[in-house]
């Protein structure tokens, strides 16, 4: 006799019971686990909402790292959002100016901000250089390392 903790499905015909006893316990369909009573609403609520240590809803944010430029947190190996927002804003401004002219980006474009000195800009020799004037604000500093501009 094999005693199982969970209820077993019982068959009405005695001949089938005899045949089942020769089969392996783990594979016979008559000896699978089955709930004995209906789960009440209180029990269901507990399994879903009772937050414990290993709850499925509690997932911690790993790999958070401090940005060197601005000091905010971001995921490791991802880009800092506040820093990228600044670059995105500036690129969209540049592209708006170019769309007005009807020109395209090329390696001869040079961005000129409010208080830039023309000699310090890398203007190409001759008339090939395409200057994009942004007169609203100065050249952004801070987390824009000046060594990163015009860098391969």
């Amino acid at each position: 006799m094999i005693c199982l903790k969970v209820a077993q499905r019982s068959l009405n015909f005695g001949s089938l019971l005899v045949a089942n006893s020769f089969r392996c316990v783990s594979t016979s369909p008559a000896l699978l686990g089955v709930p004995k009573n209906q789960k009440s609403s209180e029990v269901k609520r507990k399994t879903r909402h009772n937050v414990g240590v290993y709850h499925r809803l509690l997932k911690s944010m790993h790999m958070l790292v401090i940005c060197d430029g601005c000091g905010n947190l971001h995921k490791k190996y991802h880009m800092c959002n506040t820093c990228y927002d600044q670059t995105r804003f500036e690129t969209q401004a540049v592209r708006a100016v170019l769309n007005e002219k009807g020109a395209d980006l090329s390696s001869q474009t040079v961005l000129q901000y409010k208080d830039d000195i023309k000699e310090h800009l890398r203007l190409g020799k001759g008339d090939k250089s395409q200057v994009v004037n942004i007169e609203d604000r100065k050249r952004p500093a801070g987390w824009f390392n000046p060594r990163m501009w015009n860098k391969l």
Binding site: Y77, T87, L105
Partner: protein, 161 residues
Amino acid sequence: MPRGYAHGTSFRKFGGPEKRLNLLRTLVNVLIKHERIETTFAKAHEAQKYTNRLIEIAKRGTDDAYSRDMIKFWAPREEIQSKLLNDLVPRFKENKSDFTRLAVLSKQYCAEPRQSFHRYAVLELKGNPLPPLPIQEKNPHTLQNVLIAAAQEEMFNKKES
């Protein structure tokens, strides 16, 4: 139809060979025009490989029939062909293989709701005039990297001799 990468390498399927090639061709052309694009990581990773190869082929020149055919297929429009041959080839004279830069973004910048669960990325050509991305690349002038580079040269020279 072209089968894909060579033996041993893997590539993403993107819904079939025809769709895949059209998708990659549009991405490459758009990159060459705008020099910085935001897409899913998978598309950017694949497009990076194709742009690097295209620029490598353009550097050879249009004397080859092979390079002419490739440039005709991958950059059919004349604006992009002229930009490739007149603008990008002299820019990348000294670089051998690295012409692009890939960086991972957060999912806030994804506008399409269908792609909002994929990783999002930025692809850009190096040496572009736009304001720079906030990335710290490896510094070749630190002590460790100088020593590693010297050790690699020794290994390379030993193999030759």
